[in-house]
């Protein structure tokens, strides 16, 4: 679905991204992890056409990213940005309807209304429907935003979701709710690309993990292949202990000391 090859992004003399390549497929959740300043958000912005890469190629559905207009992209690709500060107060229903904006001109069609209701149902936010956005807690706001972008691509074929640190600042329950929803979407056939800071959550939910450091790819593969003591030490300058437990089917780490 997404093929990135030899992607570089240079600002002045700084290489923000150096020859990054990876692929993301339909039905798969790809987590991108790495320390602050590794180039994760930049990579996502290039994939969203917000920044233009210095060299390399991005193919989306086997077509060059640059051949799509913003409007075309919006029909099958949705983005949950890192910070979502609204300048106007909307009701939750209105906000989620905004996700359908790429699909109607003046007034929403029957189908758009149906999808909004469906999404509200799927996300279990029926009780928030008529509340106004500013009265919600951070976790609720994030879920509603996720609902909005889900509504955007709900009926698209082979849709793509980009999530930029979707669980920042949320409590343990909401972190899992959001990621479980993301995982569920991947299982339904969406291609989900998600930037995460929490290595253990990445390991738990991702099908593939891409590790970036200083703009370079340190590792790319399944959690078992990528979450290793060496990779984490190389990436975060931290010594960790890798733990495998029979109750937990993914590798998880506990930090021990900084190197």
């Amino acid at each position: 679905m997404i093929q990135v090859s030899k992607l570089s992004y240079i600002v002045g003399k700084r290489h923000i991204l150096k020859n990054v390549d990876f692929e993301a497929h339909a039905g798969e959740l790809l987590a991108i992890i790495g320390p602050n300043g590794a180039g994760k958000s930049t990579l996502l912005k290039i994939l969203c056409k917000e920044f233009k890469s210095s060299s390399g190629e991005v193919l989306i559905k086997n077509k060059d990213l640059n051949s799509y207009s913003l409007k075309e992209l919006a029909k099958f690709r949705a983005v949950l940005a890192q910070s979502n500060l609204l300048s106007i107060n909307f009701t939750i229903e209105e906000l989620i309807m905004m996700g359908r904006y790429p699909h109607f001109k003046d007034n929403p069609s029957e189908n758009d209304l149906k999808i909004v209701n469906q999404v509200i149902d799927d996300m279990g936010i029926e009780h928030l429907k008529n509340r106004s956005y500013f009265t919600l807690s951070g976790g609720e706001q994030q879920r509603v935003q996720l609902a909005r972008i889900l509504a955007q691509i709900y009926d698209g074929k082979e849709s793509i979701l980009f999530l930029d640190e979707p669980i920042n600042g949320l409590d343990l329950l909401y972190q899992q709710l959001i990621l479980e929803q993301a995982k569920q979407l991947a299982k339904m056939g969406f291609c989900v690309v998600c930037i995460l800071h929490d290595i253990n959550f990445a390991s738990k939910y991702a099908d593939k993990i891409l590790i970036l450091k200083d703009g370079e790819k340190i590792g790319y593969g399944t959690p078992k292949e990528t979450i290793t003591v060496e990779n984490i030490r190389n990436t975060y300058n931290t010594n960790v202990k890798l733990i495998e437990d029979s109750d937990v089917d993914y590798p998880f780490i506990v930090p021990i000391s900084t190197t």
Binding site: L70, L85, F90
Partner: protein
């Protein structure tokens, strides 16, 4: 959406009432039945004449154009205010506050005083529209300057925004002050008129000079309800929804400036209307621009017609500059918004 249409209907009724009141009330009273009779006769429908020649003259050459001017100016500056606030993602971005109206009036004043050959040759080409066009150019220039300085990465820096407003307003004040030294008596009267704002200059000429600009501005801005809603999510979020903002932003500034420029050219700076009207609607109904934009135009027209009615009757036979009235209503609302913003920043 149905609820919004109902409210818009209600506002239209309110506007109609304000318009009838503004035509009927004044030094020469025109009772409602006389008004009907005048209108019927004007359309060539034969009926009993319930009015005097004086009433008819007052109606057709004073009250009607003045009412229409009030409607056009009020609607235009309110919808422009609502759109500029949406574009800057900030409720304080009001054309007169951040210097757009001042920029427009500076150009208009320059034209009057420097009435140089240059102005005369422009007037020869554009006729009565020359002043409106000059004001429009001033409005566009200041809007671009303000936007450039105060918006970074899609976020409005409120401090810079208001400081630029202060700077531009001060600059315009200084220029206008300077020009009063070299202005003739008649020019002086015109300049005072620009700084206080008034509908006193209303006649069919001013109405027809404003009409095309108003319509272009209002219709143009109404097209951007969805875009402005998307911008409220954030600029990159709007692009993720498929809106290419590069073009839209310029068009919104252009349409708003056309309206503000032309309104300033015919009625001077009438402050705070563009701030208060959209804000009342956002607080009491919704922030959804698909509603706020059309409703602002109607409520703005309604409030300005009503304010003008008060301005010209409360100290009759003289007239109060309407800017004084709008400021008396507007300043408390302005302060309230600032307090509320601060509270939100502290708690959120």
């Amino acid at each position: 959406m149905k609820k919004y249409i109902r409210i818009i209907g209600l506002l239209l009724v309110l506007l109609a009432i304000a318009c009838v009141c503004s035509i009927c009330i004044g030094a020469v009273k025109i009772p409602v039945d006389s008004l009907f009779s005048i209108v019927l006769n004007n359309f060539g429908i034969e009926s009993e004449k319930l009015f005097t020649a004086q009433q008819q003259a007052v109606f057709s050459s004073l009250r009607l154009p003045r009412m229409l001017l009030g409607v056009l100016v009020g609607a235009t500056i309110s919808i422009a205010g609502a759109s500029i606030q949406g574009l800057f993602r900030n409720p304080l971005a009001e054309p007169s506050l951040i210097g757009i109206s001042s920029g427009a009036s500076l150009f208009a004043v320059l034209m009057i005083v420097l009435e140089a050959r240059f102005f005369q040759s422009i007037t020869a080409i554009f006729g009565y529209y020359a002043l409106a066009i000059a004001a429009f150019v001033g409005a566009v220039l200041t809007t671009f300057i303000v936007y450039r300085f105060s918006v970074k990465n899609g976020r409005t820096d409120v401090t810079s925004l208001l400081l630029i407003g202060i700077a531009i307003n001060a600059l315009v004040g200084a220029f206008t002050g300077l020009l009063t030294y070299i202005a003739s008596d008649e020019q002086l009267r015109n300049i005072t008129f620009w700084s206080l704002g008034s509908l006193g200059g209303a006649n069919w000429k001013t109405v027809s000079a404003l009409l095309p600009f108003s319509i272009i501005s209002i219709v143009g801005l109404l097209l951007f309800g969805k875009t402005l809603n998307a911008i409220s999510l954030g600029e990159s979020q709007a692009e993720h929804l498929g809106f290419s903002l590069h073009k839209s932003k310029k068009l919104i500034i252009l349409f708003a400036a056309i309206g503000v420029g032309a309104a300033v050219a015919v009625s001077g700076i009438i402050s705070f209307i563009g701030l208060v009207v959209p804000h009342i609607l956002r607080m009491s109904v919704t922030g959804n621009n698909r509603f706020v934009l059309p409703a602002s135009a109607i409520l703005g027209a309604c409030i300005l017609v009503a304010a003008d009615l008060i301005a010209r009757t409360i100290v009759a036979p003289t007239e109060l500059p309407i800017g004084i009235l709008t400021a008396i209503i507007g300043v408390p609302v302005f302060l309230y918004i600032i307090f509320k913003e601060r509270k939100r920043r502290i708690s959120g």
